[in-house]
């Protein structure tokens, strides 16, 4: 797929995210928008997930360790044709399969139930270990928030990933530098994430998390790398794509009102 098509998918995915959060009047737009380009690259280029294999584990898998970015995961599955667009309107509502934080038992294509930060990466390590045991070639991707890296379990999991030489595991950190209470650096600094993962014996790459070329190149390098897991530190902008949401911690878990929603969709080149 050429770069322009990926960019177009990412644009549609951002609109799906906003539609869900606006309709639900609840959810987490900021960290969904910051990771959109990363996850678009995974689902439309890197991973081998298709309608035919979505119900099986005989494919690459993705763990949204930062489970609050669920609107992004549902949006990608929708854009991929694995989830009906109308269902997005049920997000966070009673009787919906689209829980506030994703449940793997409800939606095909959700590979792990997540939401409690720090836990998804451990499960991803388990999956990668399972793939090694089964001697298959499938890869496992885990998307973490930078604030999430304050959880000690992230580093327990990182230690294990290196110990078991899980070169089939790629950890991606959405480094948007903001968490609910404000700047990550001020709340509890996690920098340098590169040095930390390097110290944990990871193959470490840094990218501009909105530059599709850089993302694809890093994912490709991660795939080629042998003997140890890869961490991609992706520098991103929280709320990316919607001017008034960009770099604002306040949009971590806030829904836009009608006017803001219409403005956001307009900026993304669509009609509300």
């Amino acid at each position: 797929m050429d770069k322009q098509e990926l960019v177009e998918h990412a644009r549609q995915i951002r609109k799906h995210i906003l539609k869900q959060v606006y309709t639900a009047q609840s959810g987490h737009p900021g960290g969904s928008l910051s990771a959109t380009d990363l996850v678009t690259a995974l689902y439309f280029q890197e991973m081998d997930i298709t309608e035919a294999n979505v119900n099986s584990i005989d494919r690459d898998r993705f763990v949204l360790s930062k489970g609050h970015a669920s609107p992004l995961l549902y949006a990608v599955l929708c854009e991929k044709g694995l989830l009906d667009e109308r269902e997005l309107l049920t997000f966070r509502k009673i009787n919906s399969r689209l829980q506030g934080h994703p449940n793997m038992k409800y939606v095909a294509g959700v590979d792990m139930s997540t939401g409690s930060l720090g836990q998804g990466i451990s499960a991803a390590v388990g999956m990668a270990l399972g793939n090694k045991l089964a001697q298959n070639h499938h890869r496992v991707y885990a998307l973490l928030g930078d604030g999430e890296c304050q959880e000690g379990e992230v580093w327990e999991a990182a230690m294990a990933a290196a110990q078991y030489q899980l070169d089939n595991l790629c950890v991606i950190v959405d480094h948007n530098r903001l968490q609910i209470d404000g700047e990550v650096a001020k709340v509890m600094n996690v920098d340098s994430l590169e040095e930390k993962f390097r110290a944990f014996h990871f193959h470490v790459l840094t990218v501009d998390g909105h530059a599709m070329d850089e993302i694809l190149s890093a994912l490709s390098k991660a795939r080629e790398n042998k003997g140890r897991p890869t961490a991609i530190i992706a520098n991103t902008v929280k709320g990316k794509g919607v001017s008034f949401m960009e770099n604002q911690a306040g949009w971590h878990g806030t829904a836009p009102n009608k006017e803001q929603y219409e403005q956001a969709i307009k900026e993304l080149g669509g009609e509300a």
């Binding site: 409690s116 990466i121 388990g126 327990e156």
Partner: protein, 305 residues
């Protein structure tokens, strides 16, 4: 009679299982020698992983392996499995109903000399409350062997509570363990001793010491509880005395009380267990005596009722 700790029986059963079934994977957190998963490691090192002293991460890895169609046995001491890793068990294993068997050893006061920090009297309460979690506490070698096999054969999360100390055999190979079924060991009158784990042996001893023999029942599946049997006991006895090496809050006693309280034929229910207190260092037998969880305490409870 031969004595064997339930953790030892677990190690033997697991060593067999891991050889028979290539989907079985074992995780431990630097306690393989104590939990006895080392027995499985000896015969199948490639499917035994020691994740180091990181119990929360172990439960997450267990979830990931279970999501990859493996049958995962994850072991540590009860304090660190059910206690430290509670939320990982709840969210990464319980909520997605993944096929992980948490086999926790060194439960209860019988840990002895290590003291209160390691004596987990709260794990049954913690595990019972997780939706969909099967909770089992076998009482001896034979029951443990069968219980381990049984949990491997059902899909979904299970918590198996095992002990450090050697216990006498209650059963021989003629016994058939079934998840969710209580076992009436002897029929008596007026009082029913409803026991679990090593308190089954104590209840049998107590029954032998009493002039008017009580009924003695082994409840090895704490959840799902054999409610039909408990209701029948409530109907046919004037008192049920629950006996457990666990806090009187939230464990077997609470589970039985819940059933009796909503039953048409309610009887009096009394609880023998660790009162609302922490333990201390000491020889296990001395601790059972001091904290009132042995045959003597059961006899007294029957006589004082």
């Amino acid at each position: 009679m031969a004595k064997c700790a339930t953790r030892e029986a677990y190690g033997k059963a697991l060593a067999q299982l891991i050889q028979e079934n290539e989907r079985v994977v074992v995780l431990d957190a630097d306690l393989a020698g104590s939990t006895k998963t080392s027995e499985a490691k000896k015969v199948c090192p490639q499917r035994h992983f020691d994740v180091g002293i990181a119990e929360g991460n172990m439960m997450g890895i267990a979830a990931g392996l279970a999501a990859s169609k493996y049958i995962v046995f994850a072991s540590s001491f009860a304090m660190f499995a059910a206690g430290r890793a509670f939320e990982q068990i709840r969210n990464s294993i319980g909520y997605p109903h993944l096929n992980v068997k948490i086999c926790a050893t060194h439960a209860g006061l019988s840990v002895g000399e290590d003291g209160a920090s390691h004596q987990c009297n709260e794990d049954l309460a913690l595990m019972r409350v997780i939706p969909g979690m099967t909770v089992i506490q076998p009482c001896d070698e034979e029951e443990t062997k069968q219980a381990i096999r049984a949990v491997a054969n059902i899909d979904g999360p299970c918590y198996v509570r095992l002990g450090r100390g050697k216990v006498e055999s209650v059963y021989d190979v003629s016994y058939t363990f079934e998840i969710g079924k209580g076992n009436v060991l002897r029929k008596g009158k007026k009082v029913a001793l409803v026991a679990s784990g090593m308190m089954v042996q104590e209840a049998l001893k107590a029954a032998a010491m009493l002039e008017e023999a009580p009924t003695v029942v082994n409840i090895s599946t704490i959840k799902p509880l054999d409610t039909a049997l408990i209701k029948e006991l409530a109907k046919t006895h004037d008192t049920i005395i629950t006996c457990e090496e666990h806090s009187v809050i939230g464990g077997l006693g609470s589970a039985v009380s819940d059933v009796v309280a909503s039953s048409a034929d309610a009887c009096v229910v009394k609880h023998i267990g660790v009162q609302d207190t922490f333990g201390e260092s000491g020889d296990a037998q001395a601790l059972f005596e001091k904290y009132g969880i042995n045959a003597k305490a059961i006899v007294k409870a029957v006589q004082d009722r």
